[in-house]
Symmetry: D3
Subunit: 208 residues, 6 copies
């Protein structure tokens, strides 16, 4: 009666599950093109596939009145190599998720509380914007600028899903004004005027 | 002052947004390898990118005490070609999502209400199972058998995200017992006994 | 006359063949998302690209009267990164390859001896089944449950080709009954009755 | 002597070249997820694989003092399905290619005349900027904001290569200010002040 | 008892199997980037997934003393979109499969009868060659030149598997000598002498 | 005012840019399936993304009167994982780039000086050849044999772009005649005569 068990166990034991089915991130190893090296199968446990860090919001900012809590591969090792991840977005009254993009990843956004205005802008500058309420989902095609604004009378709770384990996030204001990109260059390539660039550099901690 | 506008508008108008940024499904056209042909850009509207069908549960089954409401590309045309989708799972008290797999798509599951036992089984027959509560997420690697069971005192509400616009869903009991696959064949390839196969064929509407 | 040789040799010597053309698995290195790190080109030999382990059958099981002999990347290092592999299936008289799936890989099956009934089941529970004889090939789309049964008067010899170097193999009976997944959970998510679950757990070595 | 010719011609005539080797865009057919349907092989000519439209600059803008001339799949049908394309960038004295990104495509830029300052900004807001001269190439990773500024005493001529047949191009100023995205929303999600938003809307032809 | 059946049937009937699980080629429709449009699911039958054309050899050539019989997507519609295919190679005594390559597809070759010398050449001009006997398999990395020669005292029977539904096949002698590529050009880019080019053009039916 | 900065900085600092946006090659680490492991983000500098090695030609060969200077990942670490690369081709008067192919990569060729005849050969042996002049571009579909010949009265300068970071390059004459592939085997699989094979082996440094 053990023969069939032995048969297929023999077959499978020669090629460990981690290689075939999943590749839990080994944070102690080097990082490659598409993610981390794999933990050895014997050390993989169910907690590698479960993440509880999204059950609370992060610290809110006075400016954006919002917070983003991510479960990308760096937080959730079981996602490594599987090509998907999530984030939790909390927006206070009047809160916004500033204009941003995800290089190379699309996003589906789910509203579980509150009401928001969400939108994205296509390559030919058409705006697709809509008020979303509880239970609605909206898709943001990969790499395009998009945003969310709490438009309701209560805090909004949103959940983003990405088709990348590590989607990246380029926030427009931070990209322009949180670093040492020379103001003169910014003005030339964005057509913003000098005073506005300097005001926003001060606001976002940039120099130069 | 209009020169730059014209410059870049000219550039962009020669290659419509639909081709570059997204490809909203044209349900009237033929379906290809990876999805639908694209709606012409002029007919694309914001509602192609928003879906409100998940804000209610479907009809519950007396047997599984659960329901699955999907927003795959067939329901949500804006997902076409973007490689992601969602589903809403409602489980009554004692409800289950039966053992199933998604051919070729991984899944991240979010619990927004209740408490469940969820698990998957690897190729080398190791079980990864865990009790999840509100705010927890769990990842199910592509193509592996997995399940969810409401283990709490209240209905459970779950949201699945997939890295495919059309992930497919093979429910084990239906695959075996809802069709005309001859009972003798089922017995041979599953090692179930004849009476059990016949009982389940009756339950799930199969013949043969 | 050596100039052109030197010219192109110089060009090519600066980027070793292993990186461009192939990546033979280095079994001593760590394993990553999609396979193994590469052997250094100087150590690559023709035997890395040839495998002779399929010229015999494995040990037969009394239960399934069959054996599977795989040449996946763990057995055949030259396959690493190339996205294909093979297996040899031997079925004695009355032998079966039990219901199983390959997470994320499709399969083409070639019959070189004997006659079998083969089939797969689609997501919407349609069965595609056919008797195959010597020289026939059949394709099993990725991730779907499928099986083979020797239906002829002689042993059957089959060859499977996969479009993955490490396709994975989830055998239904082993996935359900060869581990410690609690019987009560199995019953809930498969609708099998308690006695049958216990009988099969005993048969396949499971506990719980 | 014709036997071998016939042998292999027979083989190949049963599977036309267009399907295997290339898929020249049929602009009269519908457009799908990843590009156009294929011209029938009999109508494919060498001119489908050659494009002469980049041998001149486009019309210069007074504002940016630059012009972009693209050879994407919409201009160059032979690129369809092959996953690469090019563009020619001309910058007059003081000219700029404004801050922009390509959703999902990376870019390699070659300078064949003049001298420029080029740069990109990573997700964590680090600026990578460098002065490039004739013969230099620079790579811009997919989806990130980047720009070029003529920093030399002569016009600059640049050539961009993309790993997409239809890379898309989102110019920041046009995305924000060339459409009807309400000014109040822009201000909320970019932190720009009202006067500046209105000034730039006027400059770039936006409304609202 | 029918409830669960209805539940999941409803779910699945809204997204037909053809779109999720497979995409059988509709030879009457246009051909796209990666293959054919899909047959409507209602017309898909098991024979779309089975091919019996490889159970015989093709017509042998006096020159190469070999024949290739392919089951690519043009012969076997069920392969469409699944990314794999097969071919049967028969070599008489002294027969050869001439030097050739498959643009973009790797190959695994199985010997089921006879004995051959097989080999491939890497980008840096290293030759990997080996005598293969019954039961051996060898892998040929994508895009590289390779060949097979019957080296035994009996006819050889070989089976090739590819990780493409339509792998393409560029036979060196035919590519150079079966068309109207001017002899002078051939001589310049291959360094062959004029007489040899003309002799082979005569042999393979080329002109110019 | 620092709140929003802190908010998003916190978010981003937990997932370093190198993993998301790019993966600069760490030449000291092992090489994997698709390229090199990543340099740690702190050590990445702008010069990793800029390459100046193409601003000069290489050493010319008396035979081909040409030279190829590559900027593949081995020369230009910033390309690692991004899927594109370039090369500079210089052809003296009468110079040629011999018949060759790139396994698995397509190519776009730009002429910036001189005039050439360029061509490729499809799987069904059709020749696509054309005279190109300054500013013209031509695409060579992946894996197919192609060539360039200087047909003008001045040296030609060409720039190749590839959709691979490490495209590989198989030069026909070198593949056949620069190694120890036995002459008898070459004759059998190419139909070249013995004297010509021996002449070319002598020319290209082969033995056997």
């Amino acid at each position: 009666m053990l023969h069939i068990l032995l048969l297929f166990s023999f077959l499978l034991s020669s090629s460990p599950a981690a290689a075939k089915d999943f590749c839990v991130a080994d944070f102690k190893a080097t990082q490659g093109l598409a993610g981390y090296q794999c933990k050895v199968p014997e050390e993989v446990v169910v907690d590698d596939f479960v993440y509880s860090g999204l059950n609370v919001a992060g610290n809110f900012s006075d400016i954006s009145k919002s917070t983003i809590n991510t479960s990308f591969v760096d937080q959730f090792p079981g996602l490594n190599g599987l090509g998907l991840s999530m984030a939790r977005l909390d927006l206070s009254l009047g809160g916004v998720i500033p204009m941003h993009s995800h290089p190379g990843s699309s996003e589906v956004l789910l509203v579980t509380q509150g009401s928001i205005i969400a939108g994205f802008i296509s390559s030919n500058n058409i705006v697709y914007t809509k008020t979303l309420k509880k239970g609605d989902i909206m898709v943001f095609p990969k790499g395009l600028l998009h945003f969310q604004v709490n438009s309701g009378p209560v805090p909004a709770l949103l959940w983003s899903s990405f088709n990348s384990s590590n989607p990246g996030l380029q926030v427009l204001s931070n990209a322009l004004f949180s670093n040492n990109l020379p103001s003169e260059l910014i003005e030339k390539v964005t057509f913003l005027d000098e005073l506005e660039v300097k005001r926003l550099k001060a606001l976002f901690g940039g120099s130069g």
